[in-house]
């Protein structure tokens, strides 16, 4: 154990020593990785925010089932049970006539709020708000709920925004495919650039590696400091990238003031999530590690 710790300490001090003596190559490697991770982080930030917004929209997706006046209690229970049992439905909320009126007033304010009073009766029907499960395809789920509801006793009308659901479906498809493609391109670029930079670093130390091998260093002993240096570069680069992504996000909002454009809010309204940040750090460490292993393996 003591020997292993001693060896790890040597790897760490040798990596730090090498960093001090060749700051140019190491800074280049770290800056390149940080730049690539910044791009990846920015992409994740946009995907994160778009995803959050989509989730909010999807959580609000509902089909309104309007009821005939005077529906019996048993019929209400039967409707609620039938709709709640559908796999595409996350929850069902009953809105009685009084609640419908309250919401109407809240939504429209003056002068429309006084309209029901002027009519001296509440013309708004009771209804069920059927919220769709976020996992389900919204348009398909809404159609299924509509079909199920129209066959139930006491249901007068089913309404949902078909156009909005179609748009949302298209938007989700673009976000998924586009995000995956851009992620793939960015990751490939990161891997290629890092491979080249690490090879450059190993090439710069090829004489030193040859000397180490000549005096009896095992491949593992030669590779150790490179691997530690690769991990350190990955850690520093990912930390720098995360800090820069957040700084850039804040700078955009500081520049736009209190009233940023809707699109900016949509793509950069929230911070990078903890999972996305951890992903960036993991990618940084993995690229640093794999790049170092790959490059030094060829040299040893």
């Amino acid at each position: 154990m003591k020997a292993v710790l001693g060896r790890l300490r040597y790897f760490a001090t040798d990596a730090a020593d090498e960093w001090r003596h060749s700051p140019g190559v190491n800074l280049l490697a770290t800056a390149t990785l940080a730049a690539a991770l910044f791009l990846g982080g920015s992409l994740l930030l946009v995907l994160n925010n778009v995803s959050r917004q989509l989730d909010r929209w999807r959580a609000d997706l509902r089909v309104q089932i309007f009821l005939l006046d005077g529906v019996s209690g048993e019929a209400l229970i039967a409707i609620e049970r039938s709709l709640g049992a559908l796999a595409e439905v996350s929850r069902v909320e009953y809105i009685d006539k009084a609640e419908a009126l309250r919401r109407f007033r809240e939504s429209f304010g003056e002068p429309l709020a006084s309209l029901p009073v002027e009519l001296e009766t509440n013309p708004l029907p009771a209804s069920f708000d059927v919220y769709l499960s976020p996992e389900a395809d919204a348009a398909t789920a809404a159609s299924r709920v509509e079909q199920a509801a129209l066959g139930l006793r006491g249901v007068e009308e089913v309404r949902f925004d078909r156009e909005f659901l179609d748009r949302l479906r298209g938007f989700l498809r673009v976000a998924r495919v586009g995000g995956s493609l851009v992620s793939l391109v960015v990751l490939s670029a990161v891997a290629l650039v890092m491979g080249s930079v690490v090879r450059l670093a190993v090439y710069a130390r090829r004489d030193e590696i040859a000397i180490m091998q000549l005096v009896g260093a095992t491949p593992g002993f030669v590779r150790g400091p490179f691997i530690v240096a690769g991990l350190a570069q990955g850690a520093v680069a990912s930390a720098a990238a995360l800090a820069t992504v957040e700084a850039a996000r804040r700078a955009v909002f500081a520049y736009l003031g209190d009233d940023p454009a809707v699109l900016v809010n949509l793509v950069a309204g929230g911070r990078l999530s903890a999972i996305a940040s951890a992903t960036i750090v993991a990618i940084g460490l993995a690229v640093g590690l794999v790049g170092a292993c790959f490059a030094v393996r060829r040299a040893t």
Partner: protein, 233 residues
């Protein structure tokens, strides 16, 4: 391939029918037979291209022979698995014409590196490296980086590195090639002292004056073959 020698006999190096040919038809060594006893001091001489460096590279398993066997301290070098090559090299001290010091490490760190590779504790590495540098008269230059040392000093650091782990065999490839005559004599004096402590020393050089002055056994190579040193062209 069977070993024809075993550990414990008098040979430090035994070379049997050795040939080294490169793709394209270049022959570096041909039908070389050679035996170097433990504790011997041997010069391998010959003009440039005679095969001296190739022979030393084969001893160190930097290259593999095309034919024949090389036994170093009882180990069949050509048949060693790659994983055992570091063990072989750790048992040999090496000195090169171009010193081959790690430029970002101090003199002390360069010497201690061999002990680090061998897994010695740090304090022991430093203690032994200091003694090795003192034995070559460089204990006042411990923390100097190689580029700040003169050629003679760099070669003395390389010698300290080669002997710090007390190897049974020291190989030196043109160790005085980059040094002036006075420094060459100084380096040879160090080799003689190392040899006097029981280490087998093999020095490849084309410097005939140096060889004559040292009065040691000479193995002469010419066009890849061992020849009688007296009849060398």
């Amino acid at each position: 391939m069977n070993d024809v020698a075993s550990r414990g006999d008098g040979s430090m190096i035994r070379v049997l029918n050795l040939a080294k040919r490169y793709p394209g038809g270049t022959t570096a060594l041909e039908s070389v037979n050679l035996e170097i006893e433990r504790g011997e001091f041997v010069f391998i001489t010959g003009p440039s291209g005679a095969g001296k460096t190739t022979l030393l590279r084969l001893f160190l398993r930097q290259e593999l022979p095309t034919e024949g066997q090389i036994l170093v301290n009882g180990r069949n070098v050509g048949a060693l698995p790659s994983s055992k090559v570091p063990d072989l090299r750790r048992a040999i001290g090496v000195v090169f014409q171009d010193f081959k010091l790690i430029s970002r490490k101090t003199a002390l760190e360069n010497v201690a590196y061999v002990l680090n590779v061998a897994g010695l504790p740090r304090a022991e590495q430093k203690r032994r490296a200091f003694h090795a540098l003192r034995s070559v008269g460089l204990h006042h230059r411990l923390n100097v980086l190689p580029p700040a040392l003169s050629g003679g000093e760099q070669q003395r650091v390389a010698i300290a590195r080669a002997v710090v782990h007390e190897p049974a065999l020291l190989l030196a490839d043109e160790p005085t090639g980059n040094l002036d005559p006075d420094l060459s004599v100084e380096i040879m004096r160090l080799f003689r002292e190392i040899n006097a402590r029981g280490t087998t020393v093999v020095v490849a050089t084309h410097d005939r004056d140096l060889v004559q002055r040292m009065q040691r056994r000479v193995v002469a190579l010419e066009r890849g073959r061992v020849v009688d040193p007296e009849r060398r062209s």
